[in-house]
């Protein structure tokens, strides 16, 4: 019986476990996760031995991942995108053959899969394998599943949970209390002081109007009132030209 067990086990499971598990792309992209999409690394050099298989992406909520049955077929009402997440617990999409994932990956190429990019078929039940936008922030888990015909032959492990972005309301942005900059406080303070000094000087000036305070005898006199009178103490006559 014992020698039969190794033969039975592969036949019972029939699915090869391939690694690595799917993950978000390592590329520096602004839209790695948005509110309804995320970007996965393509499964390059993973399904090399399964040239005849069709590789599907299975997407499930984190809590439903372990309940997924590999024998569920794609494109059926049990796995259609349009009924995800209720009552469909996991949907299958993004089918491709090995030719779409050539190995090795050319350096410099951006090889990604954008999950959630097809908006045109999101409500169209005639397209159950639609790659539609995800209905919530998740978290989600994904795995790749290779089917030959309708028989699953290989799969990867489930990914780590992927959480999408949640958007806050703009009314949560604080616009009050911006504070006053040092410059504005300096301008206000200095100008107020200068103005106060000027007013005080004006008051002092008017109060001491006319009284000889700092001026006194050395007051500035108006140019017109100064008359310099020439005193001729002697009459100077022209001397006669001839002196006899």
């Amino acid at each position: 019986l014992l020698p039969l067990l190794p033969l039975l086990l592969p036949a019972a499971h029939g699915i090869a476990q391939l690694g690595p598990r799917p993950a978000l792309t390592q590329e520096q992209l602004e839209g790695v996760t948005t509110a309804s999409t995320f970007v996965l690394e393509q499964p390059r050099c993973v399904f090399e031995e399964y040239g005849n298989a069709v590789i599907w992406l299975v997407v499930a909520l984190d809590k439903d991942a372990s309940n997924f049955n590999n024998s569920a077929g794609p494109g059926t009402p049990e796995t259609e995108f349009q009924s995800f997440p209720d009552p469909v617990r996991a949907y299958m999409t993004l089918n491709a053959t090995l030719g779409s994932y050539p190995c090795p990956k050319p350096p410099g190429d951006i090889t990604v899969l954008r999950v959630g990019s097809e908006t045109s078929c999101a409500q169209d039940v005639s397209r159950p394998t639609c790659n539609g936008p995800l209905p919530g922030p998740g978290p989600y888990r994904v795995k790749f599943l290779a089917l030959e015909g309708s028989v699953p032959v290989a799969e990867t492990a489930w990914s780590v949970p992927i959480t999408l972005r949640t958007a806050k309301s703009p009314s949560s942005i604080p616009t009050t209390g911006s504070g006053h900059s040092a410059g504005m406080i300096a301008i206000t303070a200095i100008l107020s002081i200068l103005f106060a000094i000027l007013l005080a000087a004006l008051v002092a000036m008017l109060v001491f109007w006319g009284s000889d305070s700092c001026g006194g005898s050395s007051a500035f006199s108006k140019p017109e009132s100064v008359t310099v009178r020439r005193y001729n103490t002697h009459h100077v006559y022209d001397q006669p030209a001839a002196r006899l």
Binding site: L29, E30, T34, T37, I110, S178, S181, I187, S221
Partner: protein, 256 residues
């Protein structure tokens, strides 16, 4: 007597010089404020929409203050040379009034400039950009201004494209997140105004979208104008303070 004659003449000369400088600065202030008011620079609709355009009130005051300073400086020169008490008293009082107005203008410009934080523009952009039922004309103006700003300055949002992801917005109500993670004007556009690579833009591949925020492009011109009005006004007022003190001292020494 000769020494105080010299003092008189030096003081008169200083006051005349001070008034000449005030007159020239008044003209310069008027010119600068006319420029601020009439310059059709980009962010003006954004400011106008918020009814927070104090900078323009400050600039309008600055225009009239500048003209007043010029006129009063001529009056001051005449008063100093003629050593006329009445003329100089009129000059001093009118100058104080002008001082008060310019003080108000300068402080308003400085305060207004403080209120233009990134959060202020972010909130306005999220609430009004591409609003589907524009309440009034200024919503359309805001959309047009932002589109032009993003196209010309090659920027996106206030802090970056992630603004559109971090917050819900009027834009998000009419444009699905999967198709429009950020507006199309954030993409690198070709000569016809279409995105060079739409998928690259949606993914956020560097080179196909504008990754930096527009706040610098907005705050640059607005700051220059605000500081121009505020600090130039402040400088003029400091100089005017000195001249006024000198004039008061001169006035109190004139023989009546």
């Amino acid at each position: 007597m000769a020494k105080s004659d010299d003092c008189i003449h030096i003081l008169q000369g200083l006051l005349v010089f001070g008034n000449v400088v005030i007159g020239m600065c008044g003209i310069a202030l008027t010119a600068e404020c006319i420029y601020v008011v009439s310059n059709p620079h980009g962010p003006y609709p954004l400011l106008k929409a918020t009814e927070n355009s104090d900078i323009y009130a400050a600039a309008w005051i600055g225009i009239f203050v500048g003209l007043a300073l010029f006129a009063l400086s001529i009056l001051g020169i005449i008063g100093v040379i003629k050593a006329s008490r009445t003329l100089l008293l009129v000059y001093i009082i009118l100058m104080l009034i002008t001082f008060a107005f310019e003080m108000a203008s300068s402080i308003t410009a400085a305060t207004h400039q403080d209120s233009l934080t990134p959060e202020f523009f972010l909130k306005q952009m999220l609430e009004r950009y591409q609003k589907s039922e524009p309440a009034n004309d200024s919503d359309n103006e805001i959309t047009k201004t932002w589109d032009e700003l993003m196209r010309q300055s090659h920027c996106c949002g206030v802090n970056g494209p992630s603004d559109w992801q971090e917050y819900t917005s009027a834009f998000r109500l009419t444009h699905s997140d999967a198709d429009y993670p950020w507006p199309r004007t954030c993409c690198v556009l070709d000569a016809k105004g279409l995105p060079v690579n739409l998928d690259g833009c949606k993914l956020g591949v560097p080179g196909y979208y504008n990754s930096n925020g527009c706040y610098d492009a907005i705050s640059g011109p607005v700051n220059t104008h605000a500081w121009g009005v505020a600090w130039f006004g402040f400088a003029i007022l400091c100089w005017t303070f000195c001249v006024l003190l000198g004039t008061m001292f001169y006035w109190s020494g004139i023989e009546y």
